[in-house]
Amino acid sequence: MDLAKYSALFLAESSEHLNACNQLLLEWEREPASPAPVGGLFRAVHTVKGMAATMGYTGVADLAHRLENLLDALRRGRVAAAPEVFQLLFRSVDTLGIMVGDAARGADPAPDPGLSAELDRATGEAAAADPAAAAGVDGTRMRSVEVTLRREAVMRGARALLVVSRVEELGSVSGLRPPAPVLEREDFDGRFAFRVSTGASDSVIEAAVRGAGEVATVRVGEVAPEAEAGGRSRQIRVDLDRLDTLMKQVGELVVARSRLAVLAAESTDPALVEISDRVSRLVGGIQAEVLAARMTPVGEVFERFPRLVRDLARDLGKRIRFDGEGEEIELDRSILDEIGEPLLHLIRNAADHGIEPPEVRAAAGKPEEGRILLTASRDRNSVALRVSDDGRGIDRSAILAKARREGLADAGTEVLSDDLLLRVLARPGFSTAEAVSDVSGRGVGVDVALTRVRALGGTLDVRSELGRGTTFIVRVPLTLAIVRALLARTGAERYAVPLAYVAETVEFDPRAVTAVRDREALVVRDRVVPTVHLRHLVQGGPGQPSPKAPTVILELGDRRAALVVDALAGQQDIVVEPFDAPTGMPSFVGGATILADGAPALILDAAALL
């Protein structure tokens, strides 16, 4: 059998298990007395060992085996969960991760003899020291729970989650089917199932389930091992490249559909019009399905952060707890891949500049352990990701003073608004840290985060309260691939403005022109809106717009701008092409696309115009 074709799958699955190991280790370290995590760790490592052995990666299997021995000793209580043991476990999981990667790339690395010896020592020594404890108890097991709610129950989704939260008091719940978002939409028939890792007996689990109310039947039993692999779980793994290719082709299909619609509109042939409508609906359906298939829970990105924060805290000599919320919120894969880095910078910033050292916190009457909270929430067509810390907050007077010195703020500015604060923070090279640390010095974090988030068509906001903490809010669109855009024309060129940023279109009225701080502005519905002429932007030269020239009012948060164009050329679904801006490309260009008639067009970056 040719095993090579399984190596990608091996890597993906092993990485998932090792990620889970990191999570469990963190949980366990927080509460060393809790018996739940070690069982999960043991199983995860055991699975990796089995897969590695099957693939013939003897080095990986060997290290996993030694790690498994130590975990077994730990779960049987023969070895105590001491801090140095946790260090060793973390290190081993890391090493295993690296080796898994190497192995999947074709090299089968030999395990580090030093690490192996340490693992053996930790396992063996303690066993020898306390042979009497060898028969210790291992209380936790994985149980599968299947529940049917009463037919007449109202709000079955909420009821199902109540069941889950009751059972969570007994142990850790996983593998919820249907998944939580589906339950919340009540898109199920009242039957659901999950697994729980607990020391509680089956009757106790059943009582907890029934305690949530409206339960018709409960079945607690063994976890069927094959349920995961095929059988009931109706999922398959698809290579991401496949989905990308599919998305691209759907993008082209969307463009072709637009072209067909244009032809049909010009034609008098009813059959053509009819088939065009039909194709249009079908393509719309395919587009929605492919987009849905690409949606991935943000938890995949979140899961690396607890470990990161833990390590940062150690390096910085701080005590920091990391919590994630809203892991089940979904984003398009392409955005998810890009969002990790900006979040990383913001989290590093929070750990480094936000959270104070324990003694400073104690002196300020705060708990010594700081907290960084990462939350995701869905907000119509965007997802908001918030990085909050309960640290020292940003000293506005210090920033304002610095901003004045560097000419970023007028001397007359008295109050530093959140908006201006962000602009100052995001200036390359800006830092208020007393000393530049190697964690996130030089203020580079916010700068990079802002650039990245903007590139995704998103926004970054900051809220900060001195002494109470800082929150950065990243908003990104649900999906990047296909957006609805308004086409604006100047001269012979057409430009696409993503509809998400368009508040309205009005007619240019020369009598409404005014000026704000030497900048041209328009009064639109009693609001003064800074004005940009597309013609000036692209041609550089001035030129008077004709009266009644179409004017697009752009809106982003509470900022607005008026974009004066020569003409509007309708709306279209456009496929945003990845865009490596050539040098010299003006900042207001955010990407490129091919229009329905095959002509290329530039996409305006509304955020840069505002």
């Binding site: 109202v154 709000m155 989704g157 909420a158 989650l161 919340e184 009540e186 109310g213």
Partner: protein, 120 residues
């Protein structure tokens, strides 16, 4: 000794109805609140065995009140009172720490069942 209850709802009608149902079943309604802020305050004062909490109230909604109460007392026994079509809010309330919910229009038997479950 009978269990004590704090009834939170901005409508007097609802408060009266819930109080009647519970009183007739032998509970002692020790307080009423008509806003989230009041609910949090009265919870601290009265330390009731059970709270019934409307979701939509002025001055801090029920969910926020649940969050506040559970912050100081994670074992607080709070029963959410929801209208039809508020499933997403009920879900949020459960995540915030509510122990159960009933859906309006109330049937006394359903309310009492839920109360018994919460007091378990």
């Amino acid at each position: 000794m009978s269990n004590t209850v704090l009834v939170c709802d901005d409508a007097i009608f609802m408060r009266t109805m819930i109080s009647d149902i519970l009183t007739q079943a032998g509970f002692e309604v020790v307080g009423e609140a008509e806003s989230g802020v009041q609910a949090v305050e009265k919870y601290r004062q009265l330390k009731p065995d059970l709270v019934t909490m409307d979701i939509v109230m002025p001055d801090m909604g029920g969910i926020e009140a649940v969050r506040e109460i559970c912050k100081s007392d994670p074992d607080a026994k709070i029963l959410m009172c929801s209208a039809m079509g508020q499933q997403a809010l009920v879900v949020e309330a459960i995540h915030a720490g509510a122990k159960d919910f009933v859906v309006k229009p109330f049937q006394p038997s359903r309310v009492l069942e839920a109360v018994q479950r919460v007091l378990g």
